[in-house]
């Protein structure tokens, strides 16, 4: 948004100055020598006129002379300025050595200025000028009115001495500046501008060729928009004040102040009400017109109560525009900025933003190389006393201090990364460019970090900038409040400023009790312990995946996670993908933690193609098998059999007598449990894995007694809703219900 506004202001100011310059040019060369139509050379003047008395060089000039000349089809050219089709009534009156002149109802078909990159042409200009020429040759414009078609009327007064001082005052009550700017290229096709302006400008030249100018442009109800009206400003009220001084053809020094304090601006999804947050710009610098160079000594852009950006000692060329900018953001409250430019624009898509809260003070010191876009940025961004609270306070990060070194190169190659002999990750040393610019390592620290049930103590992590990347080169031990610790680092993120970012995060936690992640009600029964040894998490765009398989101890068994991926981390459609297998899971401990019913024995199995998003599984292929290679007792309760049958076949083997049976039998021995459950396209299929005698068993009874659960309809597909209803019956009140 800032860039677009900047371009707009630049066009406004340039247009205004050029318009004023054009008029000054016309008037400062208003008294060329009369003569025949020249064949070459400058200035050139061609006149076809009719008059009562002709004025010729060989005529003696009387002491009192009045003359009216009707000029038709004249042309005038001096330097890059030309007038075509001039038609006017020129009145001349000489009295006491003073020549009074007037140009009435003058019409010019075209005024052209060809001094710039693109010719600027104004058509159908009307003039009324009244002035006098003193005996010493000085010209006084007592009144000049210039009517530009569509642009409005400009008035001017002034005086100038030949080769001496000059003073011009230019003004307009209602100038349509967009018409003056029409000669400039629009930002893109379909853009519209309405810039009703009130102008007052003064230009003064002394006898030595130095000049100064100051003035003011006020915009009322100005507007701009793109073809779709999605980048637009409306009812804009702004004021631009300038004060410039310089020497003809040389250096121009100046100061510019602009303030926009009314109206609204929309830039795609970003909206700012300028009445609530006025925008002010202050700029002090120089322009070398001859060398086409610019230099900003000091500049400040402030969106009141939101953010302020300073520019110091920046310079460059203006055609084509390029330069080196020194950008400074003084420490300021982060809250209003994130509110306006993050929460409001994005909360419709990221609902968690509406519940998140943040605080802190943000600052930056960046050197930017601008040419075809941002070509390079080096510096650092600081955050002090930062705080972030996620929805439901599950994430609470406080006392955050960040000193982030930044090294961005447009299209620059990412830094080369190396690996140790042992295959470990090493961050490449910071390249020479960063050292040249004194890019010292930064720091990330926090006082407290709570995520779900985990509480991390204070930590400090060193950060290094790499070309288009960052790294945490050291291993940092992060200690939890419960005494556990994980080792984080090295961390390397490449192309960090691009959506195609890649990276590696090394994490070691062996063992790591992750039960605090679970809801409090489950922590008593479950204690998953993760073993992350020499583990790396790989970042690829919006995907994070564990590089190596790892294990989790749960219910006395071991789960081997072969694949763990998280897609679209910050998006509402973030999705987990998992492939895992397990052995020796204690079924008794597992079933105790659920309302399913007691089963004893050991369980092995696997899940492949597991996708979980929006709070529910999307697809999986699950295999659950009891282990018969262990000496453990294998029993299944009446409740569990009944529930298993409900889920699998929707038909209880007890035919409604489970309650009665429970009085006599609590458990039955079983020989084998084997179930395969698949979910795809919202349909579950449940198959028994024990095939005997042409039958498919979910549960195969023991040798002497027990109950078989037979899959009567192996090709049965259970719809999502049906399965939900079945599970709901099991889970209601946290207690299984046997029909």
């Amino acid at each position: 948004m800032g860039y677009g506004l900047c371009r707009l202001w630049k066009r406004l100011i340039l247009g205004c100055l050029l318009g004023a310059g054009l008029l000054c040019g016309v008037l400062s060369h208003a008294a060329p020598a009369l003569g025949p139509v020249p064949t070459g050379g400058e200035p050139a003047l061609g006149i076809a006129f009719r008059t009562a008395r002709a004025l010729g060089a060989d005529h003696p000039v009387p002491s009192h002379l009045g003359i009216r000349i009707h000029v038709e089809k004249a042309f005038y050219k001096v330097g890059p300025l030309s007038l075509k089709g001039l038609q006017a009534v020129l009145g001349l009156e000489r009295k006491g050595g003073v020549l009074r002149f007037s140009l009435q109802e003058a019409k010019v078909d075209e005024v052209a200025w060809t001094g710039g990159q693109r010719p600027l042409r104004l058509r159908h200009v009307e003039l009324n000028v009244r002035g006098r020429i003193e005996p010493d040759g000085g010209i006084q414009i007592q009144e000049a009115e210039v009517r530009l078609p569509r642009a409005g009327t400009l008035w001017m007064t002034g005086e100038m001495a030949p080769e001496g001082p000059a003073r011009l005052v230019l003004g307009s009550q209602r100038l349509r500046l967009e018409s003056v700017l029409a000669g400039f290229p629009a930002p893109a096709a379909g853009w519209g501008l309405e810039l009703p302006a009130e102008l007052r400008a003064t230009w003064v030249r002394d006898g030595t060729g130095r000049w100064r100018s100051n003035g003011r442009i006020r915009f009322r109800k100005a507007s701009f928009h793109d073809a779709k009206f999605l980048h637009a400003g409306e009812a804009l009220g702004a004021q631009v004040l300038w004060s410039l001084k310089g020497r003809e053809g040389g250096l121009v020094q100046g100061r510019l102040e602009a303030q926009a304090s009314a109206g609204e601006v929309l830039w795609d999804r970003f909206y700012v009400n300028l009445s609530s947050h006025p925008l002010s710009i202050e700029l002090k610098g120089t322009v070398n017109a001859r060398g086409k160079r610019w230099h900003v000594q000091q500049a400040q852009v402030e969106l009141q109560e939101v953010a302020s950006v300073h520019l110091a000692q920046s310079s460059g060329a203006w055609s084509p525009f390029s330069g080196r900018l020194h950008l400074k953001i003084p420490n300021q409250d982060l809250g209003p900025f994130l509110e306006l430019f993050v929460r409001e624009p994005f909360q419709a898509e990221l609902p968690w933003l509406s519940e998140a809260s943040w605080a802190g003070r943000l600052g930056a010191d960046l050197k930017l190389w601008v040419g075809k876009g941002l070509e390079r940025a080096i510096g650092r961004i600081r955050l002090q006393e930062g705080r972030l609270r996620g929805p439901g306070k599950r994430v609470d990060l406080s006392g955050v201090h960040v000193n982030l070194p930044v090294w961005y190169e447009q299209g620059g190659p990412s830094h080369r990364r190396g690996r140790t002999d042992a295959g470990g990750l090493v961050a490449s040393p910071v390249g020479p460019a960063a050292q040249v610019h004194g890019l010292a390592p930064g720091l990330l620290s926090w006082r407290a970090f709570r995520i779900s049930g985990f509480e991390l103590g204070p930590a400090r992590l060193a950060i290094k900038a790499l070309r288009n990347g960052i790294s945490l080169p050291e291993v940092t031990v992060l200690r939890f409040a419960n005494g556990q610790a994980v080792r984080l680092g090295p961390v390397l993120v490449e192309n960090v400023w691009s959506p195609r970012r890649t990276g590696r995060v090394k994490l070691e936690a062996d063992p790591w009790d992750v039960s605090p992640f679970l809801p409090p009600s489950l922590r008593a029964d479950m204690r998953p312990v993760v073993h992350l040894k020499d583990q790396e998490f790989i970042l690829q765009g919006e995907r994070i995946r564990a590089k190596n398989p790892f294990t989790v101890d749960l219910f006395s068994g071991t789960i081997r996670v072969d694949r763990l991926e998280l897609h679209h981390l910050l998006s509402p459609n973030r999705e987990w993908r998992l492939d895992a297998s397990w052995t020796d899971v204690d079924l008794e401990a597992l079933t105790r933690a659920t309302a399913f019913g007691r089963i004893s024995g050991k369980l092995r199995g696997s899940v492949t193609g597991f996708r979980f998003a929006y709070g529910a599984p999307i697809s999986f292929d699950l295999i659950l098998e009891s282990q018969d290679d262990t000496p453990d007792k294998r029993e299944i309760s009446v409740t569990a059999i009944d529930n298993l049958a409900q889920v699998g076949t929707s038909r209880s083997p007890f035919v409604g007598m489970a309650s009665l049976l429970k009085v006599f039998f609590k458990d039955f021995p079983y020989k084998k449990i084997g179930i395969r459950c698949r979910l795809e396209n919202d349909y579950f299929t449940v198959r028994g894995l024990v095939n005997e005698g042409g039958r498919e068993y979910l549960v195969r009874r023991g040798l002497l007694r027990g109950v078989n659960v037979i899959n009567q309809n192996p090709h049965n597909r259970i719809s999502w809703n049906d399965m939900m209803a079945r599970l709901s019956r099991i889970g209601k009140s946290g207690k299984a219900r046997v029909q």
Binding site: F270, E349, P351, G615, S619, W720, L727, G731
Partner: protein, 197 residues
């Protein structure tokens, strides 16, 4: 004579080569996509009609508690839907889209929004809105289109259709968005022109 024969044979060989180019057929189950679009869009517009303007967003949970909740206790109950192409992501996207659709309906009614031929919502006449409303509607449109894009990708995955075919899926959905649009809504023709339903 021999030269002429050789030339003819070479020509024949070239023609054979040209005509024997392998034709690669990309799998696109048009009828299944159409059926899925009919069901999904029908559900969205049906539910959208009965949705309150501002539905609560719900409290998101992290992965493990949600997974455990699903596995152990009572999974979320959803409105009855027996569509061929469905899964948790599609259901959730349908829920979100029906909520957003009900928010967008007044703007469709006023002709500010239109149904694009590419399966996405188009902001037709933003100028008629105040700047603040324009920002709101622009964000709403971006939200709807992001969800529609995710929906089309999910349908493609469910039907095992290549990612490159997602625009075709979107076009099939566009027909259903048009069919279920209310009278007076603006619809884009395949040639880019617009008509009022």
């Amino acid at each position: 004579m021999t030269k002429g024969l050789t030339g003819k044979m070479t020509m024949a060989f070239l023609v054979f080569l040209l005509t024997s180019c392998v034709t690669i057929n990309i799998y696109f189950p048009a009828e299944e996509v159409r059926k899925a679009a009919e069901d999904i869009v029908g559900d969205i517009r049906k539910e959208g009609a009965s949705q309150p303007q501002e539905a609560p967003t719900g409290t998101p949970q992290s992965f493990l508690p949600r997974l455990w909740r699903f596995c152990s206790v009572v999974p979320s109950a959803y409105a009855a839907q027996e569509v061929q192409v469905s899964n948790a992501a599609i259901r959730q996207l349908k829920n979100r889209l029906s909520r957003l659709d009900s928010q967008a309906a007044p703007y469709f009614d006023k002709g500010i929004l239109g149904e694009g031929a590419d399966g996405y919502v188009v902001l037709l006449h933003p100028k008629s809105l105040s700047m603040k409303d324009r920002a709101k509607v622009s964000r709403l449109v971006q939200s709807i289109n992001a969800d529609r894009k995710a929906l089309y990708a999910e349908v493609a995955r469910a039907l095992k259709v290549e990612k490159s075919q997602i625009p075709r899926i979107a076009q099939v959905f566009a027909e259903q968005w048009e069919k279920t649009a209310r009278a007076g809504w603006w619809i884009q023709n395949p040639n880019g022109s617009w008509h009022k339903k």
